[in-house]
């Protein structure tokens, strides 16, 4: 049997899946619409009470004058950067080499908007003030992703954010926040979203990461940006006659889970401790999580780690991950995001699972290179 299939199947059948809120299935929609008034009108091409009320609510939450609902973050962020370029008369933006725009969007920003990119920092570390000070003045906007997902969800100290923002503003460089996981980092910084967003000229947030909605995004900023973004939304083909399936569900899951971010964060710290207590062959990045997420890095090859995780899952019922990816150095890794499921796992089952994980890693004789 194929190792990866085995792990995915084992996870699927596990009694105690550790990550996420639940299955991504139609029930997510049915729950959000249970009890919804069928007479509520659809939004119509970006207008109407359903969409306008939610945009007002999110603008207030993010502390910006206006916000606009988008089907996706890919669309919202390209458009934000395009507007910053157009308004400043520049054609370059700067971001991390592992930014979503660089890895997962088929170069939409370059292909559709002809915007050049400047990559700051490195594959294994955050953008720091020293990186930002190297930027030339022909950069329209710096995009910061908080937390930096592809390196385990790391965050700079808040003082560095303030320093970066102040520097950029002094040089006429706009600041855009990729806040795909903004809600999830607020407990660590101990700031409100509005407070953090004062450091940025525009901000995007997502409703299907920590909040667990179906899909959808909000782009917030000043009134001019909001108006221009609606024109670009139409151009991108995102100004649908009806976005309410995403709006109503986003609103529902926002209300349901926005108050649980501190809980997820603390649970992620507790879970990371369990991983970091399993011997030298396995560790979390960051070592102490700063949100509901972290990455697990192991010195085992992908197939070996899959086999270990499958075995732990089948024996204890605890599903630690549904997938593993191989790394260039011969090791392997996976991502952990804490959601509603974690709280349902009896502590005893978790202890058993990690005792077995530790044992199996030691049996295998794996250790740090």
């Amino acid at each position: 049997m194929n190792g990866s299939m085995t792990l995915a199947d084992a996870f699927k059948n596990s009694k105690y899946p550790v990550v996420g809120h639940g299955k991504r299935n139609v029930q997510v929609l049915l729950e959000a619409f249970e009890g919804t008034d069928g007479n509520a009108s659809s939004d119509m091409y970006g207008k109407g009470e359903t969409i306008e009320r939610f945009q007002t609510k999110m603008a207030a939450y993010l502390g910006k004058p206006e916000s606009v609902f988008f089907p996706s973050g890919t669309m919202a962020q390209q458009i934000a950067l395009r507007i910053h370029c157009d308004e400043t008369g520049k054609r370059k933006v700067a971001y991390h080499p592992l930014s979503h725009l660089e890895l997962h969007e088929e170069d939409g920003l370059k292909e559709l908007h002809r915007i050049e990119t400047v990559l700051l920092a490195d594959h294994d570390r955050l953008i720091r003030p020293a990186d930002v000070r190297q930027l030339a003045d022909d950069v329209a906007c710096l995009l910061l992703e908080l937390p930096q997902r592809e390196i385990g969800g790391q965050l700079p100290p808040y003082a560095e954010l303030e320093e970066i923002s102040a520097y950029c503003r002094s040089r006429g460089i706009r600041m855009h926040l990729d806040g795909a996981r903004l809600f999830e980092i607020l407990p660590y910084y101990g700031k409100s979203a509005a407070e953090l967003c004062t450091l940025f000229d525009s901000v995007y947030v997502s409703f299907y990461k920590g909040l667990g909605g179906i899909a959808g995004a909000i782009l917030a900023g000043n009134a001019a940006l909001a108006e221009r973004s609606k024109i670009w939304k139409r151009r991108h083909g995102g100004d649908l006659i009806s976005l309410y399936p995403y709006i109503i569900s986003s609103d529902y899951y926002f209300d349901l889970r926005i108050g649980k971010m501190e809980q997820y964060y603390k649970e992620a710290m507790a879970l990371a401790e369990l991983y970091n207590d399993c011997g030298d062959a396995i560790r979390t990045v960051p070592s102490v999580p700063v949100s509901n997420m972290f990455h697990v890095h192991a010195d085992l090859p992908k197939e070996a780690l899959e086999s270990v995780l499958s075995s732990v899952c089948e024996t204890t019922g605890v599903g630690l991950s549904t997938w593993v990816k191989g790394l260039d150095d011969g090791g392997s890794a996976y991502e952990v995001s804490i959601g509603d499921r974690y709280a349902d796992i009896p502590a005893e089952r978790l202890r058993e699972a990690f005792a077995l994980l530790r044992e199996k890693l030691q049996e295998g004789g794996y250790r740090a290179q």
Copy 2:
């Protein structure tokens, strides 16, 4: 009171609204998902059974090797034209001056894809073979919208379509079908969708016009076009983690209403006759509908027609339109699309309404200029 508000309100409260399927409200979603299995998995970024099964079904229906689901026709059509340009190495496409791309998309095709456009025919007539024969060979693709919505939903004879298609193919010009209302015209042509689509290299269809779904579109063509369109869908920000709210509802309303297109077409013909029997001041375009839609043109100014329609609506309970637009020549017009509602109106009520409409138009002394 504002005349337009009055008409919209009168229509909203009318016992017998004549146009459409029903209100665009959340009930449209609730109905589509009633009885849906909550355990059905979401599609995941364009993959999974829900999306693949529907794409296969629509490809078969349209007689094309493959089809791809999109959030919107705006996105699907720009992408189809871009691919035709890239594959032929040309940068121009041709379409009608009242095409959706020219009127309603904020120039997305030009702004995002830098494609030049050649406008064929005129504001008051269809593209004919003689227009197409004027095209230079530097045109990648001819887009035909069937029916041509902005001129009342007119159609050329089928033989002209065949002639245009054969000519374009002989000159290396691709053919794209804007089939936003394709389902609605099949009874007139007496053709299957697959048969008609053989004249085109790519075709877009919509699920919220005659079918009355929430939103969503299909782009169909050969395998290379389908694959390329998925990359562009990602670039546009349309490759959502979950499109199932639109897919499941599109599938539901396709099955519910695809067999009713002949009925809507016949009802549109009957209703147009009633309009054309109301004296010289009012008429339908086309005079005999070729689908479920037509436009009503009147020699009255917008405000006067609104007042007449409001009065008919309040007196007889029959809502003929919710809006009227003023025309440059001082007259006015509105669009009629037949859906499920029409069949529910007692014939006697309709006769009363049109008798009153005729009377009011004559009282007003309106006549053709």
